[in-house]
């Protein structure tokens, strides 16, 4: 499974540079990285997805991120219940007889057409990564001329919540925000 890290950073020049430099220098692979504002002014929130399976190396990524002076907190949510979303924009060329089937597929996936040109349409989808993958696959019969994905953003679910009728107790909220739990992580 991919490693997903919510990272809160000070909103200062060069911080993205420091994170990117760290991943390159330590030979960690970034799958996606999304940056934007958080609920706190002056603090940006990054969602970093790393492609690393080895548990020790995952810990290494976590602690190296946390070591950066501008990184306020890191949370590894790879194994925690989260709401996870990715946004997709895709432009397809469509002939007059294809519009119906595009409409059907789009509706089926809860996506929407946001632009109609003479020969093209832009479709927008916001969903979990896997669903976006399936949607893109479903669009393959059309001629895809442009495609862009934002990468994943995630948010922890409430402390206790229902998934398909089963109550799941999640871990306390403070786990792994700070470097206190070295041993518990590894």
């Amino acid at each position: 499974m991919k490693q997903t890290l919510i990272t809160l950073v000070e909103d200062k020049p060069g911080v993205l540079n420091r994170i990117a430099s760290l991943f390159r220098r330590r030979n960690f692979n970034i799958e996606s990285l999304v940056v934007g504002h958080s609920e706190t002014p002056g603090v940006s929130r990054m969602t970093i997805v790393a492609d690393e399976k080895d548990a020790h190396k995952r810990g290494n990524i976590y602690f190296n991120l946390l070591k950066l002076v501008n990184v306020v907190a890191v949370k590894d949510v790879s194994n925690l219940p989260c709401v996870s979303r990715e946004c997709l924009l895709v432009k397809v060329t469509i002939g007059p007889d294809e519009l119906n089937s595009l409409n059907t597929i789009t509706k089926q996936f809860g996506a929407r057409i946001v632009d109609m040109g003479a020969e093209t349409a832009i479709v927008e989808a916001v969903d979990e990564e896997e669903t976006i993958n399936e949607f893109v696959e479903a669009l393959e019969p059309f001629n895809i001329t442009e495609l862009t994905r934002t990468g994943k953003i995630v948010m922890r679910c409430g402390k206790t919540h229902r998934v398909s009728g089963t109550r799941i107790n999640t871990q306390p909220d403070d786990i792994m925000w700070s470097p206190e739990q070295v041993s518990s992580y590894h």
Binding site: E10, N60, N64, V69, V72, E180, V182, S183, H186
Partner: protein, 582 residues
């Protein structure tokens, strides 16, 4: 602090802040973009001493040497562009060896940043991988708090280099100056808190349960001022201690529990003990590949405790059973009183046995027509009563120093361990000499390394620093040559290296120079040098074909050591040695 705010330029604020941080000496080199700060220096000459170096790399090594000798933050200053890029090697050296330095670089004015202006370099971008942290100061109002923060970051936690890039217009801008005294607000800077009793309990249990434990003393022992605490731990439970290269001096070499250095050129009995141990207590070290050899076969039967202030070092190379993310001295003070008193006679006897075996092969007892590097180092040890501050460079002489100079006091060996920076020693010694006024200071350097930063001889003479430079000259880049001999079938590609006449060179620079090539000349020549005020140089002409033993080849198992062959090879040199290796 009861200060009235006053109007100052950014340049003046730099010096005001340095003085408040307790800085007494700055190593630097002026230039266009740092001119305002140098101009302001004229007003502060009586409070801060500036050392004009001959190359900015030297300035960073001097700051580093000063920091390692004193435990304080060293400061280097340079201009933008080439001045700043020349500092990169020094920053990387300090980063690898956790040395607290602050480098201040001039930068082109804010209005032209990004325009490829004359002598512009994105030095922040270039140094992100080799600094602990860095700052580009865009507003003079933020200058004082930035400098204060930079010093704080450099010296706390795991120390390291911090760079402050200072545009010329910010140096010229005027603002009201008051040195901040509010607590430093760094929400992302996590220093370890107290270790829970649970971990301490586990720690104690593991030590009490062990039959064949070993303590590893790394650089962290010195950085955490935990020398006494480590010895207390060792003595309470009779645990032998092995050191890393940078851990040398943290524990007294003459103490019966102290075994010596571990790793690639560590003592055979130390590496044997590591492979045989059932518990390793790693104190402030990072399991470098030069220490572990092949990780798959590394100390296979031991449990491992790792006490380390930098959490990202834990489980990086070696997976441990108990990780304690904490300040070393604090943790050991909690652990030691709870330990059982143990004697561990059998374990210590086993190690002593291995030690005796190795002693027989010691090069000291060899008869040789030419002077051997190891003998030269041993004489330097005798001639300084083992009490000197040694700054060694990188290569064969560095390993020989680690093996044959016994250090009994903390901070008496300074060397570039992690980065292995040739040319480090001379400037680092100049830097260290601004702190160390009691001990005599000896640079131990090869003929390759000295020629990399030889221009700093001028700085040594200009400052009349009391350092003695021992050049161990074997006419080769010796360690590279050793690898060529062992692993490249003695094809010596570009390792023979010529030298100037060092005696004449010393005289040309205005210092005294001597040359020795016989064992019994060493002490009398040293005496001459020791009597002299200011820098002196002694060239030791040593055997060209000698090698450093024992050696664990890179990536080999730690117990798979190449030990010193029969002494008769010394006479007809390489040929016999080559045969042996085949």
């Amino acid at each position: 602090m009861d200060e009235k705010p006053k109007k100052l330029t950014g340049a003046e604020i730099v010096w005001e802040c340095l003085i408040r941080e307790g800085v007494e000496v700055v190593f630097g080199y002026p230039g266009g973009a740092i001119l305002p700060t140098y101009d302001a220096f004229n007003k502060y000459r009586d409070k801060v001493h500036h050392v004009l170096v001959r190359h900015e790399q030297g300035a960073t090594h001097m700051a580093d040497g000063f920091a390692r000798a004193s435990g304080k933050v060293g400061v280097a200053m340079a201009t933008s562009g080439p001045g700043a890029t020349n500092m990169i090697t020094g920053l990387a050296t300090a980063m690898m060896d956790s040395s607290p330095i602050v480098c201040i670089t001039g930068q082109v004015p804010t209005a032209v940043i990004g325009s490829d202006a004359f002598q512009e370099t994105d030095i922040i971008g270039a140094t992100i991988p080799v600094t602990k942290h860095s700052y580009l100061v865009m507003k003079v109002a933020e200058l004082a708090s930035t400098i204060r923060e930079a010093f704080f970051v450099a010296r706390t936690g795991r120390p390291g280099p911090v760079l402050i890039d200072l545009p010329k217009d910010v140096q010229n801008a005027v603002t009201e100056f008051k040195y901040p005294d509010a607590p430093i607000d760094l929400p992302g800077y996590h220093l370890p808190k107290e270790t829970s009793d649970e971990y301490i309990g586990q720690f104690v249990q593991m030590v009490d349960d062990a039959e064949k434990p070993l303590i590893f003393a790394g650089h962290g022992v010195l950085l955490s001022n935990a020398c006494k605490e480590v010895m207390n731990l060792a003595q309470k439970s009779s645990i032998p201690i092995a050191t890393t290269l940078l851990g040398i001096g943290g524990v007294p070499d003459s103490h019966p529990l102290v075994l010596g250095m571990m790793g690639m050129h560590g003592e055979a009995w130390v590496n044997k003990a590591i492979q045989d141990a059932d518990l390793l207590i790693a104190c402030g070290m990072r399991f470098d590949d030069r220490v572990t050899g092949n990780l798959k076969t590394y100390s296979p039967n031991s449990k491992k405790i790792h006490i380390e202030i930098d959490a990202s070092e834990i489980n990086k190379n070696v997976q441990v059973d108990l990780a304690v993310h904490a300040d070393l001295a604090t943790v050991l003070r909690q652990v030691t009183p709870r330990l059982e008193n143990r004697e561990r006679k059998e374990w210590r006897k086993t190690i002593s046995g291995w030690r005796q075996e190795s002693k027989v092969r010691d090069v000291q007892s060899f008869e040789s027509d030419s002077l051997l590097g190891a003998q030269a180092i041993r004489r330097i040890w005798e001639g300084t009563n083992g009490k000197a501050l040694i700054i060694s460079d990188v290569g064969q002489h560095q390993m020989l120093e680690a093996q044959y100079y016994e250090h009994d006091d903390p901070r008496t060996l300074i060397t570039s361990g992690g980065l292995g920076t040739m040319g480090f020693s001379l400037p680092a010694a100049i830097g260290a000499s601004f702190h160390e006024k009691q001990r005599e200071i000896w640079v131990v350097v090869g003929d390759g390394g000295i020629q990399m930063t030889i221009m700093e001889l001028a700085t040594a003479v200009q400052e009349n620093v009391n350092i003695n430079i021992a050049i161990i000259n074997n006419g080769y880049l010796g360690m590279v040559r050793q690898w060529q001999q062992m692993f490249y079938d003695a094809r010596y590609a570009e390792t023979p290296i010529s030298s100037p006449d060092y005696v004449k060179l010393a005289e040309a620079y205005g210092m005294s120079g001597h040359r020795v090539d016989k064992l019994d000349e060493i002490i009398p020549t040293m005496k001459k040098a020791q009597k002299q005020e200011g820098p002196t140089l002694i060239e030791f002409v040593v055997e060209q074909n000698d090698m450093v033993y024992p050696m664990v080849p890179a990536g080999a198992d730690l117990h798979d050591m190449i030990t010193r062959p029969d002494p008769s090879f010394m006479g007809n040199g390489e040929k016999k040695e080559k045969e042996r290796i085949k």
